[in-house]
């Protein structure tokens, strides 16, 4: 168990900067989610901590010990790969025992720890199977057991759930969180799925083009995104810009948004209300409903406003009274206008 810290990490591939002066603390025992679109550098950062990527400049510290010049095999990490990377020539038990064999753990101790790890991931009866005889979710659990059985200082997860179907992914999220809590290991995981990051992590970091845009507890970052990238990436918010006036924000179509504090605000799709007649809410726009998308309990409406798309998410029941398309009113409460930097 250990705290991880990276300082001023820079890694370039040709002209592109995969990591651009990234400095970040990963607290001891925490579950840290690295989030960003593809090409944002999140995987490069994870691989730099693991030691597979050697940064040009900067430092990587595990438990206050600099490890930039320590090879992967001596960093004391556990890693779960996107494709699980289970050894196909070994059984499940042999896969899990591999790290213990390398450390020359005695036979009795080895057996005990493999059994313990199999029980932890609830695969007690599967030790003798080969990886190709397991389902995707079971392989994921084996990869997890193999990574933690050596009691690493840090657990690194590279998009661990992306290969699973949605129902299984939700189950595995709960499972992952339970395992992490039980062993209390510092965990860093990479994902492009914002919901997964918000669900699992106690801290998140958002990367874009190799730069760390924002980091903090998920709720704090979600409620106060501060910049337009975080606001749109984390929660799909609609950005409104205009000119600042004494009593609010004047948008391009002449609408005044009362109470807005800056020149740019973000409003989340779940905070909009739609109505056919003019609503009482102080913040309102006239837009054109283009499409209603049925999605079960929750529905989505796509609106056209000044040539831009506004997405509204809400209970399907609330959308039933609306016409299939045509002019509608969009409104929201002033407290849902989140001021951000452009």
């Amino acid at each position: 168990m250990a705290e991880v810290r990276v300082e001023n990490l820079v890694k370039t591939y040709g002209a592109a900067r995969a990591l651009d002066e990234v400095t970040l603390d990963f607290p001891d025992g925490g579950f840290f989610g690295l989030l960003g679109p593809s090409g944002s550098g999140k995987t490069t950062l994870l691989r730099a901590i693991a030691g597979f990527v050697l940064p040009e400049t900067g430092r990587v510290l595990i438990a206050d010990e600099p490890v930039e010049n320590v090879p992967v095999e001596k960093r004391g990490i556990g890693m779960v790969f996107q494709n699980y990377a289970l050894f196909p020539n070994m059984t499940v038990a042999e896969n899990i025992a591999f790290g213990l064999d390398v450390r020359k753990v005695g036979a009795a101790e080895k057996k005990r720890r493999v059994t313990e790890a199999l029980d932890l991931v609830q695969l007690g009866a599967f030790g003798a199977r080969k990886p190709h005889q397991l389902s995707g979710g079971q392989r994921q659990r084996v990869a997890m057991a193999r990574a933690i059985v050596t009691r690493p200082r840090v657990l690194l997860l590279d998009e661990p759930l992306s290969a699973l179907d949605k129902a299984l992914r939700v189950d595995m999220q709960i499972e992952l969180k339970r395992i992490q809590r039980e062993i209390g290991i510092t965990t860093i995981f990479v994902t492009h799925d914002q919901e997964e990051a918000l669900t699992l992590s106690d801290r998140i970091g958002i990367l874009k083009d190799g730069r760390l845009i924002r980091h903090g507890p998920p709720r704090e970052v979600y409620d106060d995104p501060r910049d337009s990238f975080t606001a749109t990436f984390l929660g799909d918010a609609r950005i409104f810009s205009g000119t600042r006036e004494a009593d609010g924000l004047r948008l391009a179509d002449g609408t005044l948004v009362p109470g807005a504090q800056g020149a740019t605000i973000a409003v989340r799709p779940e905070n909009f209300q739609l109505s056919a007649s003019e609503p009482n809410a102080p913040c309102r726009l006239r837009a054109h409903l283009v499409q209603k998308i049925f999605g079960g309990a929750l529905g989505t409406c796509l609106l056209d406003w000044q040539g831009e798309v506004i997405k509204v998410v809400g209970r399907d029941a609330d959308f039933r009274a609306l016409p299939e398309s045509g002019p509608v009113w969009v409104s929201w409460q002033p407290e849902h206008s989140v001021t951000i930097s452009p």
Binding site: E73, M79, A85, F87, F98, V102
Partner: protein, 287 residues
């Protein structure tokens, strides 16, 4: 509809397969049958000679120890050449598959298959120039070392092994390369993240996973080397009498085709028996 489609598919498959099968029938099955027939005759059934059916040719193998001794010598040669080829070829395949990338890989690949491009006789005679006393190798070694060295490898078993390894090395490199290519790099990364050093990764991961390719290459080398005659004859000189050269003599020097055919089939049977005995190992490597 489905039936007619299936029928058409079958006809198409037949049309595509038939040239190959026709060729195999003409080029392999017919000559082999003719040889099998000859091996049971007292003399070749043409040129107005007198002949009758007999088992004498097979009996000849067991009547003197010479043939068995030579067969054993050839099997040992096959084993040595196979082992040397794997030991030399596998690291080469590893570098090609896992270390070099892009254009330099293509260039190196070309060098690997270069022996296939040259005539085998030319290749063997080039080795003769290199290996003979006071030849290229002797002079090169003497140019480096201050004292006088007489390697004179020509007409020795070593020369035969060198020539055969050179001819058959590409097979094991190519089959090992394909097997190594199929190993996902993330497996090696996973092993490293678990603390494994290079040697552990080689023994516990890479070699077991590449074993089918290595064994396929070994079989491709072992079988023809056991029956080889050109390299032993040209590079071995006086010591170059092997089972393959004896068979060749029966056909081109002594004109005892029935004995040559019988010796060939005994070789075929022994090689098949060895492969059958090794098949449990081969099968285990594949899973």
């Amino acid at each position: 509809m489905a039936m007619t489609l299936a029928g058409r598919d079958r006809r198409r498959a037949l049309a595509l397969l038939s040239p190959a099968y026709l060729w195999l029938t003409v080029a392999v099955f017919l000559p082999l049958s003719a040889m099998a027939f000859f091996s049971f005759l007292s003399d070749v059934p043409f040129g107005g000679k007198d002949w009758h059916a007999t088992l004498d040719n097979y009996r000849a193998f067991f009547q003197t120890a010479t043939y068995a001794t030579l067969l054993w010598k050839s099997l040992k040669l096959g084993l040595i050449v196979t082992v040397v080829s794997v030991v030399v070829g596998f690291p080469c395949a590893y570098v090609l598959a896992k270390i070099v990338k892009g254009r330099s890989r293509e260039a190196l690949f070309l060098l690997v298959i270069l022996p296939f491009w040259s005539n085998s006789l030319v290749r063997i005679f080039s080795w003769a120039i290199v290996l003979r006393g006071n030849g290229v190798l002797d002079r090169a070694v003497n140019a480096i070392l201050p004292w006088d060295v007489k390697l004179n490898l020509m007409f020795s078993p070593t020369a035969i092994v060198i020539g055969l390894v050179h001819s058959y090395l590409p097979y094991v490199i190519l089959t090992s390369y394909l097997a190594l290519q199929a190993i996902d790099d993330s497996l090696i990364e996973a092993a490293r993240s678990l603390g494994a050093r290079r040697r552990t990764i080689l023994w516990r991961l890479i070699l077991p996973l590449a074993a089918p390719g290595i064994l396929a290459g070994a079989v491709l080398i072992f079988v023809p080397v056991v029956g080889s005659f050109m390299e032993p004859r040209l590079l071995g000189g006086r010591v170059g009498t092997y089972y393959g050269t004896v068979i060749e003599d029966q056909f081109v020097a002594v004109f005892n085709w029935p004995l040559g055919a019988a010796l060939s089939f005994i070789l075929l049977a022994v090689v098949l028996a060895i492969l059958a005995a090794a098949s449990p190992i081969l099968r285990r490597a594949r899973t």
